[in-house]
Symmetry: C2
Subunit: 205 residues, 2 copies
């Protein structure tokens, strides 16, 4: 028996979901919650196989809730079920620890299938959402830095000093310094840490 708990502030939707789950063969709705604090208080006593949660909740945001729940039960599979296919919500939910992301117009049959999928180690999401995720994975094709500057930047990321970088690349320390100045100008930063952080955020490395 696959147990599912629900977090959803809309009474009607919550009831419908519970009926759907309890009516399906092999599924059982373990608990229902209307907000984050209640699920956080109860989830360790009543742990379901899968948690289905809305993120547009009153009070504490669902994203925050996911983070807290995940810190308590790292292995719990959480599916976000929301009405908006907004980019930020998708990324924030997945970063926070959700493993699946569905929009509310998902058909009942597909919803049950997704619950089964996540339980079996999958990550159900629409193919459009998968594209968002994959795209954010990929390195930038337009890179303002020259190949040599990338060399220097890569060495910088491993914590090497200018002196060591110079030796490694067979150039003088002054040239390393020159490349770094150029990197700072192009990335619009003013220190090595900021350059490294920007390089990671912009997916240059």
């Amino acid at each position: 028996m696959l147990t599912v708990s629900l977090v959803e502030d809309d009474e009607d939707i919550r009831q419908s979901l519970a009926i759907l789950i309890n009516g399906a063969n092999g599924f059982q709705c373990l608990a229902q919650y209307g907000d984050c604090p209640s699920v956080i208080a109860d989830i360790q006593k009543n742990t379901p196989n899968v948690l289905l949660m809305d993120i547009g909740l009153p009070g504490m945001s669902g994203i925050e809730g996911i983070k807290i729940i995940k810190s308590m039960l790292p292995k719990l599979d959480i599916i976000v079920l929301t009405s908006h296919e907004n980019d930020n919500y998708v990324f924030e939910s997945l970063c926070a620890g959700a493993c699946g992301y569905l929009i509310k117009d998902t058909s009942p049959a597909r919803l049950l299938e997704c619950i089964k999928e996540i339980y079996e180690g999958g990550s159900p999401m629409s193919t459009q959402i998968a594209r968002m995720v994959v795209t954010s994975f990929q390195k930038k094709t337009e890179n303002p830095l020259s190949p040599r500057e990338m060399d220097v930047l890569n060495h910088l990321c491993t914590g090497r000093s200018y002196k060591i970088i110079a030796k490694t690349l067979f150039i003088s320390e002054e040239t390393v310094r020159r490349h770094i100045k150029s990197i700072y100008r192009k990335l619009q930063v003013h220190s090595n840490t900021e350059a490294v952080a920007k390089a990671f955020r912009d997916k240059l490395i």
Copy 2:
């Protein structure tokens, strides 16, 4: 008419795929290649809507090939079609620029569906592969750094000097220095750039 080109070293498989695609309504196989150099040489003259490629190719690896092709045609949709569901291949392919990842036992009907999906802005992949991608997205739940150390690290990532961090956090510069020493010890690094790089790689921030 949706045009598809193939990169696959196995003559038989390539022929079967071409027959499948040409036989389907609304699909056309534009070109076939047996290795990366040939597709790289020809793809700009004969650009398909979707490129279906194996990555276990003789000579230049498919991953390298994808990088080069993507740098020439950033908007081309590439589906990796491979026999192994190996973690590294998945990540490397997606990082290199592939938008879909299918294993070779995908049914002909599903394959056509996937080609259509990627063309329509989706990212076809199995739900297990989606899980790998999503997992690699998520922040670490075990974080060796204390909350205060995380504060300092976050400021470090924005390129702030110890002096500024001290002012912002209402502590002395010496305490900032102390936290940083502690961060270095825990992350086993010896410079600010290395700490920032490790924090990003370990998904602490």
